[in-house]
Amino acid sequence: MARYGMVIDTLKCVGCMDCVVACKTENEVPIGYNRDWISYETTGKFPSLHQEIRSERCNQCDNPPCVYCCPCGASHISETGGIVLVYEDKCSGCKACMAACPYGARYIHPEGFASKCTFCIHRVETGELPACVSVCPTYCMSFGDLDDPQSDVSKLLASRSNHSLIPEAGTKPQIYYLT
C-alpha cells in the first residue's frame, strides 16, 4: 500500500492562500471553516528576524489519535495511501477526534459531522493532484508516495533539511516542511 504524504518548501511559500481558496472551492468547505490555512512563524531578535511561512492542514498522521479515540468507528485509515478519513454517516459529532488532534485540523461541519482535509482523495484516486498542490503558483507543494524512494516527495526529503509539526506529540505526521 502506498503511503501518501506532502512536502512543502517553506523557502518558496509566499502565503498567497491560493491553496486555501482552491481547497474551499474543490471541497465546498462551508463559510467560516478551513481545511487548510497559512501559518507565519517568526523567530529571532530585531533586526535579525526569520519568518517561516507554511501551508498547513491535517497531517494525515501515521499514528492517528483521532482514529483511535472515535467511539463510532467513523474516523478511519483509508486503503488509499493511508489517508485519514471520516464516514459522515457514522459520525455522532461527539468531538473526541477534535480533542485528540494536536494540530486543530478538524472541525464540525454545519450538518453535524466531523470534517477535515482528505488530501482530495476523490482527485488522487483518479490520478490528479490534491487541489491545493495543483494550484500553487510557486510550486512549493509536492504530493506523492513516501514509501516509494523514487517519488518526488521521497527525493526532496532525502536532499533537503526538513521538519514536521509537533513530532514530539508522537502522532507521526506525514507532512514535511523543507527549510
Binding site: Y40, A96, A99, R106
Partner: protein, 315 residues
C-alpha cells in the same frame, strides 16, 4: 521574539479548542456521583446493611437512575450529529475510552434496576405482582444479595474510573493527560455521593458513618490533587505550562477558591468538627462538597481544552 499566527479561525478550534461546554462537565459530574452512589449502595448491600429497613441502599438506586439519565441527557445535548447517537452502539472500539463509556453506561441501568428491585414501594408491589416475585427471589438468598452488591460496586467503579480515563486518554491535551485524573474523578465522585447520602439518610448511625467516610475521601482527594500537580510539574514543558493554568493562571482563582477551598478543605474542617461532636451536623458541608465536585469537572474540562502542544514550540 517567537510568534506564531495563522489564518485558520475555525469555529470551536481558534483561538484555542472549546468544543465541550457545561454539558460534558455536568455529565462527568453526574457520572461520578452515580458511580459513588453505586459503590456505597453496593457496599451496604454486600455488608448486610440491607436488613435494616432504613438503609439508604433502598432509595439510592432510584436517585442514581434519575441522575445518570440527566447525565446522558446532557451528553446527548453536546452531540453535534444527534440523530446518529445510535452509531455508538453499532460497534465497540476497544481503543476508544468513549466507546467503553457508552457500553458501561448501558450496564449501569440493569444493575441499578436490580438494586431497586430489592425493595419495591408498596404501590408497585400491589400493581405488578411479577416484580414482587422477582424482588422476593432476589431477597430470598443472602448470596444473591451479596452478588448484587459486588456487581454494583464493580460497575460503579468502572463508571467512576471511566469519567477520568475519558479525558486522560487525550494525549493532545496535556492537562488531562495524567494517570492521576481517573483517581481524582473517582474519589471526587465518592465524596460527592457520600455527601449526598449523608444529607438524605434516615438512619443516624449511617449518617455518622458517611460523614467519616466523606472526610476520608476528601483528604484522599486533596492528596490526589497535590500529586496531579506534582506529576505535571515534574513532566515536560507542555505539561508544566498546562498545570500552571490551574496553579497561577486564568483558572487559578476558581480552582483554589471553589474546588480546593470551598469544595474540599472548608467542608472537611466542618465535618471533622461535626464527627468529633464539636458542632452539629448540617447540610452546609455536604452541599459545598457536591458543588465543589461539579466545579472541579467544569474547571478541568475547560482548562484542559485550553492546554495544547503549541507551547512545545516556544522553548
Amino acid at each position: 521574539m517567537h510568534e506564531l499566527v495563522n489564518t485558520r479561525h475555525n469555529l470551536q478550534i481558534d483561538p484555542h479548542l472549546h468544543i465541550w461546554g457545561w454539558e460534558i462537565g455536568v455529565y462527568l459530574f453526574l457520572g461520578g456521583i452515580v458511580a459513588g452512589m453505586m459503590i456505597i449502595s453496593g457496599f451496604f448491600i454486600f455488608t448486610g446493611r440491607a436488613k435494616n429497613p432504613k438503609c439508604s441502599c433502598f432509595w439510592i438506586p432510584s436517585i442514581a437512575l434519575i441522575a445518570i439519565s440527566f447525565g446522558m441527557g446532557a451528553l446527548f445535548l453536546d452531540l453535534e450529529h444527534k440523530l446518529y447517537v445510535w452509531r455508538m452502539y453499532t460497534t465497540f472500539q476497544w481503543q476508544s475510552p468513549m466507546s467503553w463509556g457508552a457500553w458501561i453506561l448501558l450496564l449501569v441501568y440493569p444493575v441499578l434496576i436490580a438494586n431497586m428491585l430489592l425493595k419495591l414501594p408498596e404501590f408497585i408491589q400491589n400493581r405488578f405482582s411479577f416484580l414482587k416475585k422477582i424482588s422476593d427471589t432476589l431477597n430470598s438468598k443472602d448470596s444473591t444479595m451479596r452478588m448484587i452488591g459486588v456487581i454494583s460496586m464493580v460497575v460503579g467503579g468502572f463508571l467512576g474510573m471511566y469519567t477520568g480515563v475519558l479525558l486522560s486518554a487525550f494525549g493532545a491535551r496535556p492537562l488531562w493527560n495524567s494517570s492521576m485524573l481517573w483517581i481524582l474523578f473517582l474519589t471526587s465522585g465518592l465524596s460527592s455521593a457520600a455527601a449526598f447520602i449523608h444529607m438524605a439518610a434516615h438512619d443516624v448511625e449511617e449518617r455518622r458513618m458517611l460523614a467519616k467516610a466523606d472526610n476520608t475521601f476528601l483528604m484522599f482527594e486533596f492528596v490526589v490533587i497535590i500529586l496531579l500537580i506534582v506529576g505535571h510539574l515534574s513532566s515536560d514543558l507542555v505539561h508544566i505550562e498546562s498545570i500552571k493554568m490551574l496553579i497561577s493562571g486564568a483558572y487559578a482563582p476558581v480552582f483554589w477558591v471553589f474546588v480546593v477551598g470551598f469544595g474540599i478543605l472548608i467542608p472537611l474542617i466542618i465535618q471533622l468538627a461535626a464527627v468529633n461532636n464539636k458542632i452539629r451536623y448540617t447540610a452546609i458541608a455536604p452541599v459545598m462538597v457536591i458543588i465543589g465536585g461539579l466545579i472541579l469537572r467544569l474547571v478541568i474540562v475547560s482548562a484542559g481544552q485550553a492546554s495544547n502542544w503549541s507551547t512545545s514550540v516556544f522553548k
